[in-house]
Amino acid sequence: MAQVEIADPLYQAEKLTREYAARLGPSLIDDRILKEFDRIRDFITRDFADTLSERVDKYSELGSERVESLTGLVGDIDVVLTHISRDLDRCFEIEEGNTCRASPEAVDALRRVEDRVVEATGQKCIITTRSVAEVLNSLSSCIHRVADFLAETKAVSKRCSISEKSNPNNALVEACKAWDELVDKLDELRLYAPEDVIPLQGIIVDDELMMRVGSAAGHATHIDLEKGTLEYYDRDENVNIAMQNYFERYAGLDCVTSANGVNCKGVNKDNVKKVAKILAFATSKDFRLDNPESYYLGNERLTRFLSEHGIEVPIPKEQIQEVRNALKEYIAAVEEAIKEAPTRFKPRLEELAKEVDDVLKEVNKKIEELRPLVTS
């Protein structure tokens, strides 16, 4: 595990800042220490920043709003490091080591870093801030909180992962697995557009399950078991109406639909598995609503499955009458149209064709007569 941590640029940054802060204590500030600080700063603005950006993007795609505050984190850390660099230069001049005091600007910048960390992880990270070493130690603690929050994930099923550094809620893990299994079944029944299946995934961090439920941008879901909430993001009004109906009727949630999706209350450890399974029906729902003929009637696998499992399709009599009446009218109209076709339409059509040809001959003749007059 230690090797994994060292290889992870987020934990590397934490280790580098922590060890540097420890070394500052007994040492006087010299050229070597200043150069080493520059190397740490380079590492944070390159490797650390790149990895942080990748992980934040990954969580953002899953619809996590919590990580939004981390998008400006590198910038704020860099401000801390800029002020610390000035403080170190100042202390180098006056030959101070662990007593090198941190400037108010460095401390203010560190507080801004902490604000972002609290917003994302819910945890504070500043320990003490009197000296430069203490500010760097606190900064290391803040980076550690973020690294833990964005730690690499471990797969628990085909499409579900847990954040290894978090304490994933078992009810959410089981819910995600149940969703994953149902996705496979519905996919076998050809209820999904192939492109929608590829990006499906769920990540569990503590009491939160963040899911990607389709290929469209922002088609995500966020379940917070601690708050008892479900946020389903979708811009398709018909899909949102259907999903609200399913969440309320089959999982007992209390939901409100807006232009951006469905927000529900009432999620708990007892119904979260049902909620997750209902979400399997959100994928490609728009396609199924628009093309019921091909996804349902034209879908042999589905109709066979329904028949084999004794699932009867309710027959809406009124609407069937409507189709049948329209079909009868259609047949009558076509039959009427072609009834006299061979005896009346065709002979007359032949006469008209002959007349067209005769007129055409006449027109050709007139053109021949006129052409010499015009060209001369």
Binding site: L186, R249, V313, E322
Partner: protein, 166 residues
């Protein structure tokens, strides 16, 4: 441009349209019996379906790919009806015969005008139920079928099966 030049231009335009119309009419005449037979054949399947009870009618639709074939039959019928009338409306919307032709050759002008009127009258008489009405009936069938499928709510049937009853 001289008066003769203007008249010649109008004759050349008229010539192009008559050539096109002649080709269309002769093509329809040549394939006429085949088209009518195909329409009759395509009508047999929806006619058989129309004799079934409501329940059997829907069950038949549930048999899978058959439904696509049936809807496809209606598409065939529509396509063939369109083949019968293709080209005929072309002349109606053109500003023929032109005044230049009328003044230059009144007899020919009258023949073209009469032909134009006859085609127009014939077209409207042939389809006692006009072609656009047939198209709208097919749209109505598709819409009704769409509503049936939405009302049947297959997703909800599966939710009940996989997740449990209300």
């Amino acid at each position: 441009m001289s008066v003769e030049g203007l008249v010649l231009n109008d004759y050349v335009d008229l010539q192009k349209d008559l050539v096109y119309l002649s080709r269309q009419l002769n093509s329809v005449i040549k394939n006429f019996d085949g088209i009518i037979n195909q329409i009759k054949q395509d009508l047999t399947i929806p006619k058989e379906s129309s004799k079934l009870s409501d329940e059997d009618f829907f069950k038949e639709f549930l048999k899978g790919p058959d439904i696509m074939t049936k809807i496809g039959r209606l598409d065939n019928i529509e396509e063939n009806l369109t083949r019968l009338i293709i080209g005929l409306p072309t002349l109606f919307f053109r500003p023929y015969p032109r005044k230049t032709i009328e003044s230059h050759e009144p007899d020919l002008y009258r023949r073209v005008k009469t032909l134009n009127d006859e085609l127009s009258y014939f077209y409207s008489q042939f389809f006692k139920v006009e072609h656009p009405e047939i198209v709208s009936l097919k749209t109505q069938i598709s819409r009704s079928l769409h509503r049936i499928l939405s009302a049947a709510n297959f997703d909800e049937l599966l939710i009940k099966y996989f997740i449990g009853h209300e």
